[in-house]
Each structure stands twice: as C-alpha cells, then as structure tokens.
C-alpha cells in the first residue's frame, strides 16, 4: 500500500500552490507510518504526537524548499529522526522515561523481581533454554540470538505469527519459573547511562 511517485509529485505541486488540502492528504498517509516508526524507536508513546505535530507543521512552513519526491521523503524522515533522537538524549535524567524505555527494550525474561548479577542469570538462562523442546527452542533462539522479529520468524519457519508468539510466551514463562526454582530472582534495572 505505498504511495506512488506521481502522487507525491502531485502533492508537492499542490503544497507549493498553498493548497492546504494537500497537507491533509500527506497527513493521512504519513501519520500512521511515522507513528509506528516513532513508537518502535522511542518506546514511550506520550510525546510522539507532539513530535509529529511539529513535523507536519515544518513540512508546510518549508514547502518552498521541497522540490521532488526524494527531497520530500528525506525531509520527512530527517525531521522526525532528529526530533526522536533529541528527545531520547534530552531525557537522560528523567527516571520515568529511562524505566519505561529499558523495560520495553530489554527482553521480558530479564525483567522479574529483584536486582542481581547479570552474568549469573545469563548463564542460567542459557542452560534452561537448552532444555526447551526442539521447536520452541528454535523459535526462541531466532528471536534472542538472531534478532528476528516474530513476523520474520513466522515467515522463515513457515508457521503462523500467533504460533511464534505462543512459543515465545511459553518459553519466557518456563524460564521465569525455572529461574525462581533455582533461587535466582532478578530484575535488572540498567542505569548505566553515559
């Protein structure tokens, strides 16, 4: 469902003619995509709308500088990227942001009850993962070792995305139960910010 180059050219032309309805169409197409992009990067949803408001406002204010589809795409991308990075960097002292950001970036099997040594947990986890049934182990390793998304794993193994999610959920549950069995309760808060 992507937007054709011709359509972008038309929108640019109308923008430069001060046609505000062109901005509305641009919003309709780019807002959901920019939102999802921002959410994956920022993790925290609160300020995404503020950032995106500025992005579309700037598109309008600087429309005279947009000449072709390439500059248009890179314009949208660059403004959003800079705003997102600025926000992440300026929140270096914001506890609430750091907590939520780390919770959503770190895999959930590492997020449980009390602070502990990471190395011990990692070794324990590796041992427990080796005990998982074959299929489940494979799915879990593709996610944690190879960094594939659930969608990519589903495509690779020719199974449904729901099945992948189920495998991972069960694996995590098994991990947490086993970890508490051997007496390691861990919640890792990482305040190793530079």
């Amino acid at each position: 469902m992507s937007i054709s180059t011709n359509k972008i050219e038309e929108l640019i032309r109308r923008l430069k003619n001060n046609d505000k309805s062109a901005l509305n169409e641009i919003f309709r197409y780019y807002y959901p995509r920019l939102y999802n992009f921002s959410k994956k990067i920022l993790k925290v949803e609160d300020e995404i709308d503020d950032i995106l408001q500025d992005v579309f406002l700037k598109i309008w204010l600087h429309r005279s500088k947009i000449n072709n589809p390439e500059t248009f795409n890179s314009f949208i991308f660059t403004i959003t990227k800079n705003s997102l990075l600025n926000l992440i960097r300026s929140n270096i002292n914001n506890q609430a942001f750091k907590e939520e950001f780390s919770k959503r970036t770190i895999a959930s099997e590492y997020v449980t009850q009390n602070p502990f040594e990471f190395e011990e947990i990692k070794t324990a986890i590796d041992k427990i993962v080796a005990k998982l049934p074959e299929k489940r182990q494979k799915v879990f390793l593709l996610s944690r070792n190879d960094g594939l998304s659930n969608k990519e794993i589903a495509q690779k193994l020719n199974i449904s995305e729901k099945t992948v999610e189920d495998h991972i959920t069960h694996a995590i549950r098994f991990l947490k139960e086993s970890l508490s069995d051997i007496g390691i309760l861990s919640l890792l808060y990482f305040y190793l910010f530079l």
């Binding site: 992507s2 995509r33 939102y35 999802n36 406002l57 594939l148 190793l192």
Partner: protein
C-alpha cells in the same frame, strides 16, 4: 550492529545488548551508523501494510498553528493600518459617547443624566474603561449602558458582543442581557448576546455565574464556554478561548467554522449583508484568520482558500455567494 538494532526495535535485548544500544544512541561518533540504520528501517516501514491510525484533532491543531503563524506575517504588513484604526476608534468613542437624549418627562430626565450609553454601528468596534477601571471592548453593532454612579453596584446592560476585563474590588459586577445575567467578581470573559445568535459566554480567567431568564444558574470555570440556545437550555464546553476573544485585538480566527457562522461575523465586522446560496456552501468549514483587512482583501482571501464565487454590490453592500 544490524542485529543489535533489530533487537532494540523488537524489544528483545539482553542487558549487555541494552548497554550497547545506549552507546549507539548517545555517542556522537555513532551518529552516521545510527542514521543509516534508522533510514533503512524507515524505508521498510513505508513498504509495510500499516494499521491506518488517524488523529483528526492533531490535524486541527496543526492547521491552528499554521493560521497563527500566518498572522505574524500579516501583523507586520498592517501595522500602519492598525495605527490608523486606533486613531479612528478613539474618534468614534468621542463621537458616540453621549448622555443621550432629550427626554420630556422629568422622571426619565433624571435617568438620562445618570445613564451612560455607548453604541457601535455595523463595521466599527471600540474599547473604553468603566468608572471602576474595568476594561471593555465593544464589538460592532453592539450597545452597552451603565449608571454613571458606578460604585455600589456595578451593573451594565449589553446588547451585542463585548469582552470584559473586570477589576476585583469586592463588589459584584453584573452584565445584563436579554437572555440572562452574568455575575462576576474579578475576571476576563467574553459575552455574545446578539438578537440573531445564541447567547455565548466565554470565560478566559476567573469564575462567573450565569443566570438565564428562567432563573437557572450555572457556574463557569476558566477555559469554559456556556451557550444558551433559543430553547433557553444551557450547554457548557471547554474551548480554546482565544478563538472567541481574538476579535478584540482586531483578529477573527476560524477553525473549521461553518461558513454561515463566518458570514454572520463578517456582516457585523464589515457592515455588509451576506447572502449564501446553497445549503452545502452554508455548512462548508472555513479555517482562516482575518486581521485588519479591507473587505475586498477578505474576499480575495476566502476566494483563494475555499471554492466560492461571489458578487459584491458596493452601493447596497450586499455580497452574494455561490458554490462552484
């Protein structure tokens, strides 16, 4: 790096990897690498099927900010016009303030010595101070009267539209209109009480009590607006107050306002009669800002931003508008 980035996006990092992610985000030397990873991911997002999430309120806010930004450009151009208008306003106040009339009966004679009357014709507005120091801005086609003895009770009678900045002095301040009264102690608010429109009160700061003719009372907090419709029922909502009070600074701001309502404001502002042909056109939403423009400039402005055709007769001052 690529794998690490993916795990960051998917939220599947182990704690070591998380630290590497932080490194990637916070270290200046990694900027280029980070940018290219982000760029690659953005291109993927563009190709994916997304849930079509929308946010029409955000879009409205964007248009509002655009309109505000455009107003900054205009105000520089029209500073000269603004100054001339200020001088004109002072002259108008001088011409219009009158202790009205020549009554024959002695009873009314007393009242006329004691009553102050300010009226604005179509196409003009003015501002002045009440005896207690409160400020009033009176819109076009409006009238305000009050007793010269303004100390024990501060009571004004309004027909039309005015914006008040009431000074707190311990005594209640009452605005009387044909639809009901508004009671305040020290506050800023806008009242619209024209014959052909709803009774609107917009509160910028403070607290006001509104009493309709059935003696029902409603209390407004700042940022709220109350409307009494023709059935005399109250309706309260939260609003962006400057949309309703900007007229006192010489600006009319509309956000997706049905064209018929826009026309009503313009009629009073410019002393013209507007006839709109076509039900669709009457409901067409207009977003824009009008500041210190002459009427023909307004027509040009509306022409550029909405699909309309018009005919303006200079002698009768009737504007006829058709859709295209």
């Amino acid at each position: 790096m690529e794998k690490l980035f993916r795990k960051y996006l998917n939220g599947t990092c182990n704690p070591d990897e998380f630290n590497e992610v932080l490194n990637l985000l916070y270290t200046k030397e990694n900027n280029d690498k980070l940018s290219s990873l982000l760029d690659k991911y953005w291109k993927e997002v563009l190709l994916e099927n997304t849930d079509e999430r929308q946010n029409s309120q955000l879009l409205d806010n964007i248009h509002y900010r655009i309109v505000l930004d455009e107003s900054n450009i205009y105000s520089k151009r029209f500073t000269l016009a603004k100054n001339l208008l200020k001088i004109a306003a002072i002259l108008i106040v001088g011409l219009i303030i009158s202790t009205v009339s020549i009554y024959n009966h002695s009873k009314t004679r007393i009242y006329s010595d004691v009553l102050e009357n300010i009226k604005t014709p179509y196409g003009a507005k003015t501002s002045f101070k009440l005896p207690d120091g409160s400020d009033v801005w009176l819109n076009s086609a409006s009238a305000l009267s009050y007793q010269k003895q303004f100390d024990k009770i501060r009571e004004v009678e309004l027909s039309g539209q005015a914006f008040f900045n009431v000074i707190k002095n311990g005594k209640p301040f009452i605005v009387k209109t044909r639809y009901g009264n508004i009671e305040v102690s020290g506050t800023s608010f806008d009242v619209k009480a024209f014959n052909d429109d709803d009774f609107e009160t917009t509160l910028v700061e403070g607290i006001v009590k509104i009493r309709n003719i059935k003696n029902q009372v409603v209390t407004l907090k700042s940022g709220q607006q109350s409307i009494i419709n023709h059935k005399n029922e109250f309706e309260i909502r939260d609003v962006k107050t400057d949309l309703f009070t900007s007229w006192k600074d010489g600006k009319l701001i509309f956000i997706n306002e049905p064209f018929q309502k826009v026309a009503k404001q313009l009629e009073k502002w410019y002393n013209v009669k507007i006839e709109i042909q076509g039900e669709k056109l009457k409901k067409l939403g207009y977003t824009g800002k009008i500041e210190m423009e002459t009427f023909s400039e307004v027509l040009d402005l509306i022409n550029v931003t909405t699909p309309i055709k018009y005919k303006f007769d200079k002698t009768t001052r009737i504007l006829k508008i058709y859709g295209q």
